[in-house]
Amino acid sequence: MKVKYFAWVRERIGKSEETVEPPANVRTVGDLMTWLARRGETYAHAFEKPRIIRAAIDQAHVKQDAVIAGAREIAFFPPMTGG
């Protein structure tokens, strides 16, 4: 599945998107953040406070317990500051 990062999540990880293949036990958005955080220092930094990170599955806001099965695109970003 494709994973996208925005704002300081993107800056900390150092890339704006990538394709990942998490194992089957990574079921939810929260699981995916925990799994991504173990990919290295930059990821650990980006996800050090997972509760403040927002997520979207296929461009719709979701909570951290949302199931990721079937998702084409999952995005992680800080709280929004538009408008």
């Binding site: 925005f6 461009q59 806001h61 995005a75 929004m80 500051t81 538009g82």
Partner: protein, 155 residues
């Protein structure tokens, strides 16, 4: 009659008069047009701001705005809605966002414009980074923007 909403995300500035004309020209059923323009301030919490850079999530940003416009149209009798959100680097004094609402009566136009701004602030995937003498920093979300959204779910 409700015209198809205008939703644009662009680097270029917008012309409020032209956008209002696009919404109202040739129509005589509109009694009220409300516009909201959000402008880049040169000072935030006592610190001078040199510029603001806006990042967005292409695709989702347009979809989120469209979803909120539909929601506004189902709540109030609107004749038309236009929303333009700029992205990229903006200097103090420059426009950031435009929300236009048109209706037969003023209450609907005012309420819908406020509703749309509250939802844009809290839910549309845009992020602001500020440049100041201290360097660049991502703007923190303000908790009162979430409170502003909450009031629309009570009515």
């Amino acid at each position: 009659m409700t015209a198809k909403p205008t939703i644009r995300i662009q680097q270029a500035d917008f012309d409020i008069a032209r956008e209002i004309a696009a919404l109202t020209n040739g129509r005589t059923d509109i009694g009220a047009v409300v516009s909201f323009s959000g402008i880049c301030r040169g000072n935030e919490n006592g610190e001078d701001i040199a510029a603001l850079t806006l990042e967005h999530y292409p695709g989702m940003a347009e979809a989120e705005i469209a979803r909120h416009v539909e929601s506004a149209m189902s709540r109030w009798p609107l004749s038309g809605v236009s929303i333009i959100h700029r992205v990229g680097r903006l200097n103090p004094g420059e426009n950031i966002v435009l929300v236009l609402t048109a209706s037969q009566h003023r209450q609907a136009a005012f309420a819908a414009a406020e509703f749309l701004m509250d939802y844009l602030k809290a839910n549309a995937p845009f992020w602001k980074r500020e440049e100041s003498a201290a360097g660049t920093a991502w703007v923190d979300a303000r908790t009162h923007d979430d409170a502003a959204v909450a009031r629309w779910t009570k009515s």
